[in-house]
């Protein structure tokens, strides 16, 4: 009993807390960077890239979790790098160009993922890929905690330490420049750290939908938009939210439900609520 508690339950709870905190913090950072309350941390294609990388490994390399994770991480980083390179080819340096580049790269990797799923053996590979794309903490272990913590803790701390310039980045490129912010340099820093956090998370547990979008909004209700208060609140709420969602994922049915299904069931209606309430209060969107 104690062994199950220490070797399965405890690492799983720790992993959900840190991954929830990391993805949510990255979401808040991306929303500020792109001045878009609907921006999610996978806006630059990291999730699609990771999904493709994982599927590629499952299909052609090995079903070993470690290899799948490494491949997912590498392709997540490749996707964001390609989005950045594509955006840099444009003369327009506005964040919207970066978002469009992210959509393009995302679509390409998504198509690649769909093709692999189409080609996959439906009896073992396909199920593994589908389960991976919907995310799960059922393979949580101390090894995975060791893989997550060295990236997520420094990442969250860095984002919180350098959270004040994010306020200024929300004011638009030209206004931020006028106030003395080196916009391009800061954008690279925030995108790099956030992408590392998301790519690490996605490579370890698969896609965790919605959390990076909705948790920053809940935090904004509680702490306001000032990022020195917002980011710590987002990290705490993100950790708690994902821990609760994962508890539901493994306990509401006899077999475990993929985490993205649970977060989507709660996330999508909440977004609907935001859209309705935004018109009345203008507080969020």
């Amino acid at each position: 009993m104690m062994m199950i508690f220490w070797n399965i339950r405890v690492p799983r709870v720790i992993l959900t807390i840190f991954i929830g905190a990391g993805i949510s913090t990255a979401g808040a950072v991306f929303q500020a960077l792109f001045r878009n309350p609907l921006a999610a941390p996978d806006i630059l294609g990291v999730t699609s890239g990771s999904g493709f990388g994982a599927a590629l490994a499952i299909m052609f390399l090995t079903p070993l979790a470690f290899v799948i994770q490494i491949n997912a991480f590498i392709f997540g980083i490749i996707a964001v790098t390609l989005a950045y390179i594509l955006a840099s080819l444009s003369q327009d340096s506005s964040p919207s160009v970066l978002v469009i580049s992210g959509i393009v790269i995302s679509a390409i990797f998504q198509a690649g993922l769909s093709f692999i799923m189409y080609m996959a053996n439906p009896y073992d590979q396909l199920a593994q890929i589908v389960f991976w794309t919907m995310g799960s903490f059922n393979t949580a272990s101390w090894v995975k905690v060791q893989g997550a913590v060295p990236v997520l803790i420094p990442g969250i701390i860095l984002m919180i330490i350098f959270s004040w310039p994010l306020n200024i980045m929300t004011q638009g490129e030209e206004d931020a420049m006028s106030m003395g912010i080196h916009v391009v340099r800061w954008r690279i820093f925030y995108v790099l750290v956030s992408t590392l956090m998301v790519a690490t998370s996605v490579s370890l547990v698969g896609n965790v939908a919605w959390i990076g979008l909705i948790v920053p909004h809940i935090a904004r209700y509680l702490s306001g938009s000032e990022h020195r208060r917002l980011l710590p609140m987002t990290a705490i709420l993100g950790g708690l939210f994902l821990m609760i969602m994962d508890t539901l994922a493994r306990s509401v049915m006899l077999s475990e439900i993929p985490i993205s299904i649970v977060t989507s069931i709660f996330g999508a209606p909440f977004l609907g609520y935001l859209v309705v309430s935004a018109g009345k209060t203008r507080r969020i969107i």
Partner: protein, 262 residues
Amino acid sequence: MNLAIKNITTGYGKTPVISNISLTVGPGRICALMGRNGSGKTTLLRCINGVLPVFEGNIRVMGKEIQKLGRAQVARMISVVPQTHFSPFSFSCMDMVLMAGAARIKAWSAPSGKEKQKALETMAETGIDHMAKRPFNSLSGGERQLVMLARGLFQDTPVMLLDEPNSHLDFANQHKIMALMQQVTRKRNMTVVITLHDPNLAYYYCDDVILIHKGRVKAAGKTCTTLTNDVLSAVLGDNIQCDETKKGVFVVIPKHIPQKMN
């Protein structure tokens, strides 16, 4: 001279929009930039602020060449008040003003109590200190512009650029903003360059005026001597004339005023 621009040419991409423009503005003076839509007023402001590259010529603020300075150094010299402002997230007015301290405040730090006190004093200067905790996005257009003005003043620079700060304001607020600008410019002894469409506002509140037409300076000088029928017609079109009211007050009105219906 606080601001000295010499023969600058600038534009977008490789296409020049304004050519060979020179101007100097001393401390404690407001210079109006006037011209029709698309004449290059905003382009000139963006170039002065270092957002657009200088193709030719140079811009000096307090003797230092802007093109050779980093972003933070430019922000210590020049502040900008934009035409309109929308914040995607609802910050308090105090937070909005404090952002202008970015060039002084370390990125890993946060505004100190001293900075917050200074911000509050600046807000008092523009008469909005009572709004410090109110959400910026809940304010009216006029109140927002006062917050943006306070933000520009909090940046504490020798030069301030204002891009059509009155364009979305009602009559009373237009004069309120301009009177406030005149007052703080004298008090702080700073240099202000402001783009305007209304020659009356330029005449009453600005010391100097530069009229730009198709990217080139058409006329420049003191407002009281430069704003003449000939100059205004050449720059702003035929349908404009300078006149005087019965009380002898200078006004610029359309030449052809349609007859009233009643």
